[in-house]
Subunit: 329 residues, 2 copies
Amino acid sequence: MEKIRIGIAGYGNLGKGVELAIRQNDDMELVGVFTRRDPANVKLMTEGVPAYRLSDAQNMQDSIDVMIICGGSATDLPEQTPALAQYFNVIDSFDTHARIPEHFANVDKAAKENGHLAMISLGWDPGLFSLNRVYAESILPNGKTYTFWGKGVSQGHSDAIRRVAGVKKGIQYTVPVEAAMDAVRSGVQPELSTREKHERVCFVVAEDGADKDAITAEIKGMKNYFDQYNTTVNFITDEEFDAQHNTMPHGGFVMRSAKTGDGEKTHQMIEYSLKLESNPEFTASVLVAYARALYRMKAEGMTGCKTAFDVAPAYLSRMSAAELRAQML
Amino acid sequence: MEKIRIGIAGYGNLGKGVELAIRQNDDMELVGVFTRRDPANVKLMTEGVPAYRLSDAQNMQDSIDVMIICGGSATDLPEQTPALAQYFNVIDSFDTHARIPEHFANVDKAAKENGHLAMISLGWDPGLFSLNRVYAESILPNGKTYTFWGKGVSQGHSDAIRRVAGVKKGIQYTVPVEAAMDAVRSGVQPELSTREKHERVCFVVAEDGADKDAITAEIKGMKNYFDQYNTTVNFITDEEFDAQHNTMPHGGFVMRSAKTGDGEKTHQMIEYSLKLESNPEFTASVLVAYARALYRMKAEGMTGCKTAFDVAPAYLSRMSAAELRAQML
């Protein structure tokens, strides 16, 4: 069997997750990692697979079927994805919701002009959560959709905590409010404020002699990050922090509460949820499955930029159409 | 706006659900219902829409974009769907899992030979549950998938109860076992027997003077239907039965428990669930959304038979591709 030849651009948590996910899919092989660092200092987990300079990637066009781009959404992907789409079929996890139309247009242009296929914003939100919103709203037009996130680590909020004076280490968990989720499930279609949907729980290691009350006050008052939420700040020891807050769990819920039938009185509830011990490993698994879809759709002649909405589920599976019908329908 | 012109073949609970679902989608209009009964005796809920003889359907080819076939899977659909696919683009909810490949082949042949597009086995299982199994297994290859059904009314089991001597009225609820679902959610990937996954709860109105112990024993011992399950039989009054057991709720859960990462030790959990106050109204809503997809895919020139696996989610939505990216991704 011909394997799908994958390149990884960017070798942080997400890139490493992609490397590990490829091992679980024996129709794929990893060709190399492309990094902005000195490749001599980048050691892969996979025996015999080299690291290359990102700037040399274009010389490898003939060796790679799909380039999975694992940079950050703030500054890396807006530049890297259109640039690499000139040379490769590409896929990314761009997650700045407000800038998706602009990113799509840039990637679509670069891919189309060079006869490549691209996919953007793959992961779980955007990604699987988006899919579930579209399926649920298309099937049940008269209703309300709710998205809850967590329990999970927010990198942005954790970074914000760590910028507070006197904070040595800090991490923030976004926690969905059970009472709000139960209200949604009851079918009353509540209007929920920001504060009612999620709370924020922080674990902080303070510097020696730091004023803990001042730290707590500064965190709780931080505009946009914390001021609209019920926030708890817990001070813990260095040892406890390292032992208990060293993973990146996340997850969440997409719920659609809707009415059907005569007089629209029948309550119908769709709920999708993820409980992830590792956010980057899961996002990587989504990217790898969609890399398979991309490879097949390209083989059918498609070019330009696509999203999860454009991908028929059969493209994701190792199984043939007949196997899917016989075993999975 | 040109509306999608829908016909309904078969006017039982599902057909009526389709009629009501069309009202929630103002890009569609109902042209007529086609019935094996005398149309003079069939009164629709929708003002001004006529009933026709099913045998006259082929005269209406030019008036209908999609025929939604609402017969039963045991004997109606295997005959009706290929027959109607000669004259129409068709969609059905065929749910006899073991016979799907055969049904697919028959419908595919009839549709292709006549330049029509068909979709089969749309609903929630098969249908949305099947989709969730494929998405989850494609993304997380190293894991186990579990499907639980209920709490909901099983027509087949309710029919079986009603055939027992001394039973005046009877209904059966399939109930998923909470402990089994919690074991799955914990990540231990349990092997679950039939008895461990679901229990069966029956409500029976006995004929005057009937031997209730004998009824209970006969129900509990019924081969395949009840003997492999923990079954409870509750005797209630006629009034209680009519007041509390007059709806068709259903639902269920698709769960994928899987491992990712270095050494495959990271637990990742995907869960999809439905809680439906009306099984036929929900199935009808799925059929109507997929009728929209079918209409669009036909407009692109596709013919033959498709399943949910072949339909990119964007086809289901009223929104344009650009609206979906801006608002739903």
